[in-house]
């Protein structure tokens, strides 16, 4: 072999493709090999060399493995766009799968599995069957993975042809590599199947534990992760398992160590003997610490996991706090995580050392790190009562350096310390007041103002201090305005003299008349009313004793912690989020059968019935809204939301939405379905949306009424799609002037109405304070289009032909105009309307799309249009033509958006 591969990248003059074609057909082997390399080079830089398909495939029949591998690489890339030509390669594949050379057999099966063309899949079955029983372990281990590939393309085929059984047999294979791949394949198939495919019995358990000792490091991870789902029968079995797994803690591969830790932690839950548990903790500590000697990337993962582990079992690393001290050259993401763990491990015994570290960090260069270090000192003060005084003296030392952001951060934490230990450390207020004029961050300002208001009676010049802030009241961020309002009221209640009285008038005026912020206005009105009707009551309310706070920042909710601990050594434990909040893998195979589409159907039926029971007033059957609702006037046209108000509510009240709620979708505001004028101050905006393959009812409830609302429940009337809530509506108590958004998961085909499909969705919402509200929504078909609606070109044609002409419906959209094909295609694709092909007809462009709605009803769509000219004609063919009107409505919204 001569020269450099990179020469293949050099661009030739025109006629590159014909030149390559000639070389590919050369009679000389070396020339052909060089030519294929050039083709691959062109392919990797994104050039289209698919036209050479036949010529490249011709090179496939060779004994030269290097050349064969190159051709296979090419095939994987282009087979999808050239399915008919790919068939040409099948014979060679089948032949190769019987080659005397095991490498060629394995290569053939590996490559065929990567070519996701239906026609090839059929030919794959026989070779795969043979290779699963091959004499050579390299072939068997490749075949095991190939079963998972096939399952991803065609799950039924895998089940029908008995591949699952063959795969299970491989668990007992004598080659550990084969075992590991079989386990990996089965685990993946199980993830995507609703049937029990791979259940670990005590028998498989012992086999796998034996294989563990002989496996490669990666195989050990596959096996440990699969076994972590096993629930031991009793403490004795758990101890046995742990004993077999513990040696893995000594492995050099961090992934093996963490997976072993996960397994041990899980089994420990069952172990009752405290001696055994203590001993295990002792064994786990050094390997966990050793993870911190790995590359910083691994350290980060280890630290995120350790953070969870010490929340459950603080003793494991109680004596190791020193290893979490930040190194000078740690990346910032490692330093931040170390700080978090230092706070968690801080105790009366080590707090002096820890404070010394924090103090040092607080004078470093990185601003974010410094801030976090200052906060850490405050959090230690709140956590450890006996150390609070030492923490405060460190904070005061830091304030004296007069670095602006350090001072501000210190004031924020000192406010919390005052809340935690009332009437203890107020003597330092004078020192704090010295820094008053340097504060320029909202949170620090708000904290300082809170302190002044809270201790107005002890600060001689509290009124002067507050007054200095009042001058800039209108310009302040709302956080500061709210605090100023409250602090001024406190001052007035404590020192009802002339000065404060004037101040309160200025503030109340500013906060009611001069502001657009409903939070501020509402709070000001409440104070105003309180002060004017009953000043004593005002005192009771405003100056009431506050509950003592604890340091729960970054402490996870116990149920969440449980779930995360079960997911140690996975992404979930790094994000500190349950897997279902970020796993978005499109499960193409699952949705092939009808039942699988709604795996939780039975559960949701129960829960929606439960919701129905909860609605007390209408004594109708639990799944229907009373007739009155049906006859109700059509809902008033959605009132346009005033932009300003919408923005303010959206922004300012984020804090009120509970953190565990899915975040508000960013995008156009939801249409208002129940205006506040109709709902006695309760305004409901809602829309059906699709996210991560699921349908949700996105709701925004705004309480503009004078009372707090709680006990929200929702109910849907029978409708053409059988839409119903999959669970109870989770909305917290809504204080006046606040709002809450929520995503309510929906299920289909629960309460179907008879008659031709229409888009009416009748909704009832109730709460404990108001009558039941009924309103109408319009069902758009858009959220129903499933992710698996893409059709192969051939099956599209077949389906089109197989449907009678009576199933074809068409409609004109004279007003719609497509000015940019790309964006329209993108928009269609975003709604799961998949582009199939395009052709020219006279001066018009004709586009074909496919889409699918649940229960496998496909839509074949033909759009005829001239780019940039108004007027789009749409024809659809579908087994359910009665859906056409609803479909056209949906399409129109896409075309016109």
């Amino acid at each position: 072999m001569s020269g450099h591969d990179s020469k293949y990248f050099s661009t030739t003059k025109k006629g590159e493709i014909p030149e390559l074609k000639e070389e590919l057909n050369s009679q000389y082997k070396d020339k052909r090999k060089d030519a294929v390399k050039k083709v691959i080079a062109a392919m990797t830089v994104g050039k289209d060399v698919s036209s050479l398909f036949t010529d490249v495939v011709n090179c496939m029949q060779t004994e030269n493995l290097e050349l064969k591998k190159l051709v296979y690489l090419y095939l994987i890339n282009y087979a999808k766009s050239q399915p008919d030509l790919a068939i040409l390669a099948v014979n060679t594949f089948v032949k190769d799968s019987q080659d005397p050379n095991p490498l060629i057999r394995a290569l053939a099966v590996r490559t065929m599995g990567c070519i996701r063309v239906d026609k090839i899949t059929e030919y794959l079955c026989d070779p795969l069957q043979r290779c699963l029983k091959d004499d050579d372990p390299y072939v068997r281990k490749t075949a095991a993975i190939c079963v998972a590939k096939l399952y991803d393309i065609n799950a039924e085929l895998v089940e029908d042809r008995g591949f699952l059984e063959s795969l299970k047999d491989l668990i007992s294979d004598n080659n550990p590599m084969v075992v590991a791949n079989a386990v990996a394949a089965l685990a993946e198939i199980q993830e995507n199947s609703n049937r029990p495919v791979f259940e670990i019995t005590s028998h498989t358990l012992s086999k796998l534990l034996t294989a563990l000792n002989e496996c490669t490091e990666w195989g050990q991870v596959f096996i440990l992760d699969a076994l972590s789902k096993y629930k031991a029968a009793d403490a004795r079995e758990a101890e046995n398992i742990v004993e077999r797994v513990t040696p893995r803690l000594q492995h050099a591969n961090c992934a093996v160590v963490l997976s072993a830790v996960k397994m041990i932690l899980q089994q420990m839950e069952l172990i009752t003997s405290t001696d055994v548990v203590r001993n295990l903790c002792k064994k786990m500590a050094p390997p966990l610490v050793t993870l911190l000697s790995a590359e910083p990337e691994i350290q980060y993962v280890a630290l995120r996991n350790i953070n969870l582990i010490v929340q459950r079992r603080p003793t494991i690393l109680a004596h190791e706090i020193k290893v979490f001290f930040c190194k000078y050259n740690d990346p910032i993401y490692v330093k931040m995580e170390k700080l978090e763990i230092m706070i968690k491990l801080a105790s009366d015994r080590n707090i002096d050392q820890v404070l010394l570290e924090f103090k040092e960090y607080a004078t470093e260069v990185d601003v974010d790190f410094v801030r976090k270090a200052v906060r850490a000192i405050g959090r230690c003060a709140i956590k450890l009562e006996r150390a609070a005084e030492r923490c405060i003296s460190v904070l005061l030392e830091l304030i004296k350096i007069k670095v602006n952001y350090v001072v501000q951060e210190a004031i924020i934490v000192i406010k919390d310390i005052f809340r935690r230990y009332p009437n203890t450390y107020e003597s330092i207020i004078a020192t704090l007041c010295e820094s008053l004029d340097t504060l320029d961050e909202p949170e620090a300002k708000a904290s300082m103002i809170w302190i002044i208001g809270e201790y107005a009676e002890r600060i001689d010049n509290a009124d002067e201090l507050l007054e200095s802030f009042l001058e800039s009241f209108p310009e302040e961020p709302s956080q500061v305005q709210l605090q100023l309002l409250t602090a001024t009221v406190k001052l007035f209640l404590k020192k009802p003299t002339e000065g404060p009285q004037q101040m309160i008038q200025v503030v109340l005026n500013n906060a009611t008349v001069e502001t657009d912020n409903p939070d501020l206005r509402d709070r000001a009105y409440i104070y105003w009313r309180l002060l004017s009707t009953d000043p004593e009551a005002a005192k009771d309310v405003v100056l009431a004793e506050k509950p003592v706070i604890t340091d729960d920042s970054n402490q996870l909710d116990p149920t969440l912690l449980d779930e995360l601990l079960a997911n140690i050594a996975t992404l979930s434990s790094v994000y500190h989020k349950p897997p279902d909040t970020f796993v978005t893998r499109v499960k193409t195979t699952v949705q092939k059968t009808e039942d699988d589409d709604y795996p939780d159907g039975s559960e949701s039926a129960e829960s929606s019935a439960h919701v129905g029971d909860g609605i007390t007033s209408p004594p109708a059957s639990s799944s229907s809204v009373p007739a009155a609702a049906r006859q109700a006037d059509p809902a008033p046209a959605p009132a346009p939301v005033p932009d300003l108000l919408g923005d303010l509510i959206g922004l300012d009240n984020n804090a009120i939405v509970p953190v565990d709620q899915p975040s508000e979708p960013t995008g156009p505001p939801l249409p208002v379905l129940l205006p506040a004028s109709t709902g006695q101050g309760l305004q409901i905006s809602a829309q059906l949306i699709r996210r991560d393959g699921q349908i949700f009812y996105s709701l925004l409830l705004e309480n503009n009424s004078p009372v707090a609302l709680d006990g929200f429940m929702i109910q849907f009337n029978k409708n053409s799609f059988g839409l119903a809530a999959a669970g109870p509506l989770q909305v917290p108590q809504l204080q006046p002037g606040t709002s809450a958004g929520t995503l309510l998961p929906m299920v289909l085909f629960q309460n179907l109405s008879a008659g031709p499909p229409n888009s009416l969705l009748q909704v009832a919402v109730k709460n404990n304070q108001q009558p039941v509200w009924y309103f109408n929504d319009k069902i758009s078909l858009l959220p129903f289009f499933t992710e698996d609606g893409k059709m192969e070109r051939t099956s599209f044609l077949e389906t089109w032909r197989s449907l009678p002409d009576s199933n074809e419906v068409s409609k004109d959209f004279p007003g719609a105009v497509v000015s940019n094909v790309e964006t329209t295609l993108d928009r269609m694709a975003a709604s799961n309307l998949f582009f199939i092909a395009k052709r020219k007809h006279a001066n018009q462009d004709v586009f074909y799309f496919s889409a699918k709605i649940p229960r496998g009803v496909p839509f074949l769509i033909e759009l005829t249009l001239v780019v940039g000219v108004p007027g789009v004609k749409c024809a659809i063919k579908t087994p359910g033509p009665e859906m056409a009107p609803v479909f056209f409505e949906a399409l129109e919204t896409i075309l016109k958006s």
Binding site: L73, Q250, L258, T290, H319, Y328, D368, Y575, F582, R585
Partner: protein
């Protein structure tokens, strides 16, 4: 299980891209690069992207090796340590095969790289990362790139810098490359590499000290002979449940006490408990035989003291002293001492000792850091730097708090702080005239070597 693997240059150019499952959209490389380049979170100013993050349902993992970004994507809840470890290993395997890991070598050898990637990962599942095992499946040959002009990679690369005794090409030789004469040179490298972290308090006490060590091996021996590596006989593992605070009791006895250690999977420990020997048949390529960690007290190689004092209006003086506390037969090289100065420092003039050779001192304008570089320091010697600073504003008497800590990086060949030693290296091969080259090399590097002010 991963979906895609790719390698990007520092500018974001796509060097290698392999999609294993077709479930992540094509634009992922750009999405990733944009996210990493402009990482922002929680209103923080520009920060460094963590190695794992999620954008629109796709999880991105990345590590930086030799100035390149090795990235993997997935949509499922995989083991992140597996993926990150895998990325490091892929880098190592590629380096083993290409000899050098660089943008240039990857581009020149793209066919070989793709061949490797197909054997390392199938449908997103790791198959093997063993250079040895892979040899039977790889048919392309590497094309050498000019190693001299390339930045070295990996811990063993430090041997290329100073010591002339080492054959510099050894570490950049591909495992499958043939020597020009067709004859392979029989040699084996065993490197004891220690990274030490020490924090001195302002009064010179040692606050924390730690050694992260690894015994790295790279074998070019033909016929895969068995090798025995003997370590110190007085070697204890585990602090026996004692806490960090009283480890001093074990010091002085001459024994080396490791907190924890782990071994490569090829290592057999049959006689380890008895005579502290490791037995192994080294696979091809570079690999760590043993990793260890130690917090036992040791003598730090350097004592650093720094002083900053106000010297009149808007002026201050800095004195930094570095004393080498190791034998005079040993020389440390590429020493850099850094010290952050107050933000309002405008000018610094430096005064090196008379007769100082190979030393430079500088004030980094942007970061306001003092930087003192020394080409070498001989054991037992002391070096001093004096600097006069000018300020643009008055300090509030907090000058000490606003400067420092002093940090130091260095490399000391043929020195190790832990005292762990390879007593002998035995190659089991019958022939009497078989005497391959054995290189046992020690080196100590600074990890986080800090003196507080």
């Amino acid at each position: 299980m991963i979906s895609q693997f790719f390698v990007l240059s520092q500018r974001g150019d796509n060097i290698v891209f392999r999609d294993y499952r077709g479930e992540v959209q094509k634009g992922s490389t750009e999405t990733f690069f944009r996210k990493v380049k402009f990482w922002k979170e929680d209103g923080q100013e520009e920060a460094q992207a963590p190695p794992v993050f999620n954008v629109d349902g796709v999880n991105y993992f990345h590590v930086k090796v030799a100035g390149l970004l090795f990235v993997a994507t997935t949509r499922v809840n995989v083991s992140p340590s597996l993926v990150l470890e895998l990325l490091q290993r892929i880098a190592r395997v590629i380096k083993d095969y290409l000899g050098v890991l660089s943008e240039d070598s990857l581009r020149k050898n793209f066919v070989l790289v793709y061949e490797l990637l197909d054997e390392v990962i199938d449908f997103g599942y790791v198959q093997t990362t063993s250079t040895e095992v892979l040899k039977s499946y790889i048919f392309n040959e590497p094309i050498a790139v000019d190693a001299a002009r390339l930045p070295p990679l990996g811990p063993a690369a430090i041997f290329m810098q100073g010591s002339k005794r080492m054959p510099g090409t050894a570490v950049t030789k591909s495992v499958i490359a043939n020597e020009p004469a067709g004859r392979k040179r029989e040699e084996i490298f065993v490197d004891i590499i220690e990274k030490i972290s020490v924090t001195f308090s302002s009064s010179g006490y040692i606050l924390t000290s730690e050694i992260d060590g690894t015994i790295q091996m790279k074998s070019y021996l033909s016929g895969n002979p068995e090798i025995r590596v003997a370590l110190n006989e007085e070697l204890n593992i585990g602090r026996g449940g004692r806490s960090l605070y009283d480890y001093r009791s074990s010091a002085g006895s001459g024994a080396v006490v490791l907190d924890d250690c782990n071994f490569h999977e090829s290592v057999r420990l049959d006689s380890f408990d008895m005579d502290r020997t490791l037995t192994l048949v080294p696979p091809d390529g570079e690999f760590p035989v043993m990793n260890y960690r130690m917090t036992q007290e040791f003598r730090p190689p350097f004592r650093v003291t720094a002083l900053i004092e106000e010297a009149g209006n808007l002026k201050a003086e800095v004195i930094i002293k570095v004393r080498a506390e190791f034998s005079s037969s040993i020389t440390a090289n590429t020493i850099v001492v850094q010290m952050p100065l107050p933000k309002y420092t405008t000018r610094a003039t430096f005064e090196l000792e008379p007769g100082a050779v190979g030393q430079t001192a500088d004030l980094r304008e942007v970061s306001k850091k003092l930087e003192w570089s020394l080409k070498k320091i001989v054991g037992g010697s002391e070096n001093t730097l004096r600097a006069k600073l000018s300020f643009s504003q008055e300090s509030h008497g907090n000058i000490t708090k606003e400067s420092g800590p002093v940090s130091m990086t260095f490399t000391i060949p043929m020195y190790n702080a832990s005292g762990l030693q390879v007593k002998y290296l035995q190659i089991a091969k019958k022939s009497s005239n078989y005497n391959p080259y054995r290189w046992v090399r020690y080196v100590t590097q600074a990890n986080s070597y800090v003196a507080r002010m």
